[in-house]
């Protein structure tokens, strides 16, 4: 049953892939924007803590980016179905 359904809408995989990658990128974009913006604010407030803030920013941004990449990989796998 499920097989029939999926084979009937095989054309939709592309759309699904695009949505998966796009939405993941959207979320991560907002997230990384917030991280960068807040880091800039933090550095403006406390320039002497710049190194520590930069390290934290990078680490958090990388973790957010990981989520976006999961979306991208799922999209990539779907698009190759």
């Amino acid at each position: 049953m499920l097989l029939q359904v999926t084979s009937g809408v095989s054309q939709m995989y592309g759309i699904g892939a695009g949505l998966a990658a796009g939405l993941a990128a959207l979320g991560a974009g907002v997230g990384i924007g917030l991280i960068g913006g807040n880091a800039a604010t933090a550095i403006a407030r406390q320039p002497e803590a710049e190194n520590k803030i930069r390290a934290t920013m990078l680490l958090t941004a990388v973790l957010v980016e990981g989520v976006a990449l999961f979306g991208e990989v799922i999209g990539f796998l779907l698009s190759n179905k």
Binding site: A55, L58, L59, V62, E65, L69, F70, E72, V73
Partner: protein, 386 residues
């Protein structure tokens, strides 16, 4: 600005541009097919991104590839012996058959053990004759059985392996020289390559090692530095024309992540395990927390794997897609100028992406090392008493 500084900067810029242009050129030369077949960008993308059994430079106009054949090392499980061949062709001559004929998912150059071909051919012939779905299902099952029986363990030196060797040799040459320079220039300021590497090493030590593993960073510096430079060299080598996409290979990144997993968990102290199996939360929360913590042991290296793989492969795919655009447009209409004008635009984009990729190569090597240090730091941190 003194003239020598200017020239140095200029030559560096020139090298960067030459590398990007050559990469474009190499990809173009590979895929420039004079016959007007429809352009298959997907196949070309995969051809560039995936590992191969030969080191291909480009295809001649008649379609024959100009390539260095790499040796094949195959474990024959029927006679329990390792078989060595100079090239894939040599292996075919002694009876190894191509897996791709029977399995569309197989890679070009995957081989089956001798004796597979007559068996599989006979089954395929029977399959072509039959119309009964039950019989054909049975035959499919039989084909899969024979296929897996004759599927060898392949230890071949692929293109990726060659590039790992190149990176390893480069690392050895550079760092042995740097190490020697420290005994030669003892007490003096660093010179040459030594001066290039010292700030990087010191940066990794201070910002990655000391920052995240404050109590015992010396112990992990060899691992962190090796990881950083190995990934960095392979990332940068991947940007060189005719080279291999090693750090964009999921088995490579997985292996590195497994190193992190093992180091983290073997070196972990009591406080780390206590945090996983008996976290300091109310008892009913433990039901949720403990499984989550256990899963997180494995998601960390998984995320490491995917991050490096997706970033590097993504960059390669973007470059190849941009170059593919030239040929897609070039074959769309009668006018040759379409491809030509798109070509100029694409090349500009490729340069921009290429420069970004150099940054990504550095960043991803750094991030992998940083996260490894963070995970190790969590595992070996001394228990804090509140």
């Amino acid at each position: 600005m003194p003239l020598s500084t200017f020239f140095r900067k200029f030559s560096i810029a020139l090298c960067v541009f030459a590398a990007v242009f050559l990469k474009t050129y190499a990809a173009c030369a590979n895929d420039l097919d004079p016959k007007s077949e429809p352009f298959d960008s997907k196949e070309i993308t995969f051809h560039h991104v995936l590992d191969q059994y030969e080191w291909e430079f480009f295809k001649k106009p008649d379609g024959t590839p100009v390539a260095i054949m790499l040796p094949r090392i195959i474990y024959d499980k029927h006679v329990h012996k390792l078989a060595f061949f100079k090239s894939t062709e040599d292996a075919r001559e002694v009876g190894f058959s191509d897996a791709i004929d029977y399995n569309p998912d197989a890679k070009h150059g995957d081989l089956l053990l001798p004796g597979a071909k007559p068996l599989l051919d006979a089954l395929e012939k029977e399959l072509a004759k039959t119309t009964d779905p039950k019989v054909s299902a049975n035959l499919h099952k039989r084909i899969n059985e024979v296929y897996s029986e004759y599927d060898p363990l392949d230890f071949s030196i692929t293109k990726n392996v060659v590039f790992m060797f190149i990176a390893a040799i480069l690392l050895l040459v550079i760092f042995l020289n740097v190490a020697k320079a420290y005994t030669k220039n003892k007490g003096k300021a660093p010179k040459g390559v030594q001066a290039l590497m010292e700030p990087v090493v010191v940066y990794i030590r201070d910002e990655v090692g000391k920052e995240n593993i404050p109590n015992m960073y010396e112990r992990f510096m060899p691992l962190l530095l090796t990881m950083f430079f190995f990934i960095l060299f392979l990332n940068l080598l991947g940007l060189v024309p005719f080279s291999s996409n090693v750090s964009g290979n999921i088995s490579f990144t997985l292996t590195l992540a497994l190193v992190t997993l093992f180091v983290t968990n073997i070196r972990a102290n009591k406080a780390y395990w206590k945090h996983i199996f008996w976290p300091p939360v109310p008892h009913f929360m433990k039901i949720i927390m403990v499984p989550l913590e256990i899963v997180s042991i494995f998601t960390k290296p998984f995320a490491l794997t995917i991050r490096l793989f997706a970033n590097i492969t993504g960059g390669h795919i973007v470059v190849i897609s941009l170059i593919s655009l030239i040929f897609i447009f070039g074959k769309m209409g009668e006018a040759v100028t379409t491809g030509f004008s798109v070509g100029i635009l694409s090349t500009l984009f490729v340069i921009a992406i290429g420069l970004l990729e150099i940054f990504v190569a550095l960043l991803q090597a750094f991030v992998f090392t940083l996260l490894t240090a963070v995970f190790i730091g969590q595992a070996v941190a001394e228990e804090e008493h509140h």
